[in-house]
């Protein structure tokens, strides 16, 4: 990292950085990225239940002169949060409830934990940036200012409880609490919203392409672009957003360049990983099916959960284009791993996963 780049950062290379969820899919890459950028003092917060291999990767990240402190704890414990945030200049908050199907669990592991971390960070008064890692799942994708383009100016879901998706509910609420604490206590915060982060370690096909719930894969996205971001690119974007001056209070979306259509992605996946049967469901039909499911769930008072509904259709399967202009312009990010190379690595990991299964 050159001196000019360092001057653009809000902290010096010796100042302490906390990464929560550091042993996670993105977190472990973020740690590596920060070390590559020359930061020498990292605190990695991991759950005691974290997978041993990923924790070992972190401890293996130690470079000459760099200090990677591994702190085990639970963000639901205020004591653990106080210990984790002590003397920290930047917090990268990646820990969240992923894959939770129940609303209370997702909420507890995303919102209550974030609130605890924010409160702990107020105590020390040395925090320069709180990087809230959110998700594309918070956008409504309806009534956008620019019809087909989803960017940072797009509205967030007003009624996430109606989406039938615990994760997006929790993420919307997480963003709300971060904004509330920033307003009330003047905590410097920036929000990063990655699209679908892919790469070795996150093998399943994203629900934005389609669903395999009913025994056969229903391809719902057709010619839609899928907002992929390769995990290393995403980690670098998160790192830069937290470090760059003048990002306080902003939101940054993260997607790579040259986004493939869902159809192209699925074709490549079938060619390079495994063959399976899929049925393409045209957009108008998937919309009608989501509508009918939504109405039935309401009429039957929850005999079928409202998993499929129009809000989800808009968010996941509506024809949309994505923009990473703001990220490029404001923090100088560029996706280092091109889509073709990212897919090559991802498909290889998928093939290994299939072989190991």
């Amino acid at each position: 990292m050159g001196q000019t780049e360092r001057d653009a950062f809000i902290i010096g290379s010796d100042e302490l950085i906390l990464v929560t969820g550091a042993s996670g899919f993105i977190g472990s890459r973020l740690v590596s990225c920060l070390l590559n950028l020359g930061f020498l003092n990292l605190r990695c917060f991991v759950r005691p239940s974290s997978e041993v291999t990923r924790v070992e990767v972190l401890t293996g990240c130690r470079r000459d002169g760099a200090r990677v402190e591994l702190v085990e704890g639970n963000l639901l414990s205020r004591e653990d949060c106080n210990a984790a945030t002590k003397d920290v200049a930047i917090i990268y908050h990646l820990a969240a409830g992923r894959g939770e199907k129940s609303y209370p669990d997702a909420f507890l592991n995303s919102v209550v934990t974030t609130r605890n971390l924010l409160e702990a960070s107020i105590r020390d008064q040395c925090l320069r940036q709180f990087v809230n890692v959110s998700s594309f799942a918070v956008y409504t994708n309806t009534k956008k200012p620019r019809w087909r383009v989803l960017d940072e100016s797009c509205p967030v879901e007003k009624h996430p409880e109606l989406r039938g998706d615990a994760y997006s509910f929790a993420k919307v609420k997480q963003d709300e609490i971060v904004a509330e604490y920033a307003r009330k206590f003047g905590i410097p915060c920036v929000t990063v919203r990655p699209g679908h982060v892919y790469g070795p370690g996150n093998e399943p096909i994203t629900g934005r392409v389609g669903i395999g719930t009913f025994g056969v894969f229903l391809h719902l996205a057709g010619s839609n672009a899928i907002p992929f971001t390769y995990v290393d690119n995403c980690a670098e974007a998160i790192a830069l957003v937290g470090l760059t001056k003048g990002t306080d209070g902003e939101v940054f979306n993260v997607v790579d360049d040259d986004l493939p259509s869902s159809r192209n992605f699925l074709r490549l996946y079938k060619q390079q990983v495994r063959r399976f049967r899929s049925i393409y469901v045209p957009h108008s039909l998937s919309y009608v099916l989501c509508y009918l499911w939504e109405q039935y769930a309401k009429w039957s008072k929850g005999q079928l959960p409202p998993t499929f509904n129009r809000l989800r259709w808009h968010a996941n399967w509506r024809k949309t284009r994505y923009s990473n202009e703001k990220l490029k312009m404001r923090v100088g990010w560029k996706p280092k791993v091109p889509m073709a190379e990212g897919f090559k690595r991802y498909f290889e990991a998928c093939r290994n996963g299939v072989r190991d299964a």
């Binding site: 209370p104 409880e161 008072k301």
Partner: protein, 371 residues
């Protein structure tokens, strides 16, 4: 309008709120959780009037007629006592209490104050379970149950959950006398308790940690349990809890001196077992046809319930809550007799006492071999 409150806004509270809103003539006047954000999220997602983080405030401001207690089990007893003291009827999620003494105290307090109390053994009120009860009461088994088998399995295959509990020593599961088992087995034990009187009960329990859980570092948690229960050398029962056997059954078999029944909770089926045999080769051909016919009958019943919008995953909970409210409003009998609640806790106490003794004897054997 019956005023209802929910205390404890975790996962199971969602099920309570969803079922309560399906019942006419009641409203949720308040929800409460020590963590204000948790109370607020439940309030935001369901038609709830107020949210609280202090139980006394809830009781004082919302003045609920009924309180549903959905907190971790160790707090059930204290919260229920407070609610009864304030004059509210109480529905306590399973496990009812941590021991029989606590259960006895609560039931005595409710009786003294003329209030209703019940335990959340809602699996006993699912469609097929209710059909089974009706058949048993009609004398289908003969003069009464001779033997029962209750399977209640739990897939620990979701290793993230197991790892989270194993890694977090502060998790409330560790503070339960029966640890993981205490939170899970009461449904399966309650099924047996329903058909026992509780006199001269003998319980023999054997538990161990499965190799799979040991590999995950969970050797302190018992996830395989076999129990024999015997009442007055008249009625016996086997209870099986397993995290490893497949299929992970939730099944109950009951045999009388005339006929038997098999209840499958997952498939929502009830199969009659004919006590008498057919002659010669007829036994090889007629029963399979009879079973096929019965399964088709179950399919038709389930389909009818589904089409009638009465086949929710938590249909048993709705039925139990409705019955409980009826017992409050109309003086109908308790949906679960107090004696059954007490017997369930007594059997669980006996199981955990024996597992404790086994554990201690294993530890002392290990120590002896070290020296």
């Amino acid at each position: 309008m019956l005023k209802v409150a929910i205390v404890g806004c975790g996962k199971i509270a969602d099920d309570h709120a969803a079922q309560i809103q399906r019942i006419e003539g009641c409203e949720i006047v308040g929800v409460c959780d020590r963590e204000p954000l948790m109370a607020r999220q439940l309030y935001e997602r369901f038609p709830v009037k107020q949210h609280f983080s202090d139980l006394r405030e809830l009781l004082c401001d919302a003045k609920p007629d009924v309180v549903h207690i959905t907190t971790p089990p160790e707090s059930h007893s204290d919260i229920a006592r407070l609610c009864l003291d304030w004059g509210s009827h109480v529905y306590v999620e399973k496990p009812f209490t941590l021991c029989e003494d606590d259960a006895r105290t609560l039931i005595a307090l409710a009786t003294e104050k003329g209030l209703k109390i019940t335990a959340g053994h809602d699996d006993q009120f699912r469609h097929a379970a209710r059909r089974m009860r009706a058949l048993v009461q009609s004398g289908f088994l003969g003069s009464g149950p001779v033997h029962m088998e209750s399977y209640y399995c739990y897939e620990l295959g979701q290793t993230a959950y197991a790892r989270a509990i194993l890694a977090d020593r502060e998790h409330w599961v560790w503070r339960l006398p029966g640890k993981l088992l205490q939170n899970i087995i009461s449904h399966g034990i309650a099924r047996i308790a329903e058909f026992l009187s509780g006199d001269s009960l003998e319980v023999v329990a054997y538990g161990f940690t499965s190799p799979a859980l040991k590999r995950m570092g969970g050797s302190e948690i018992i996830d395989e349990l076999r129990v024999i229960i015997c009442e007055q050398e008249r009625t016996t029962a086997y209870f099986t809890f397993s995290s490893q056997m497949r299929p992970a059954l939730h099944q109950f078999r009951i045999y009388g001196d005339r006929n038997g029944l098999i209840l499958d909770q997952d498939q929502e089926t009830l199969i009659k077992l004919r006590g008498k045999r057919y002659v010669s080769y007829a036994e090889k051909f007629i029963p399979p046809v009879s079973f096929a016919r019965q399964y088709l009958g179950n399919l038709a019943t389930n389909a009818r319930s589904f089409l009638a919008r009465d086949f929710h995953m938590k249909s048993g909970m709705k039925y139990l809550i409705e019955s409980f409210y009826r017992s409050i409003l109309e003086g109908a009998p308790d949906p679960i007799p107090h004696s059954q609640i007490l017997l369930t806790t007594r059997i669980m106490d006996a199981i955990f006492a024996q597992l404790d003794a086994q554990q201690q004897s294993v530890e002392s054997r290990v120590q002896a071999s070290v020296y």
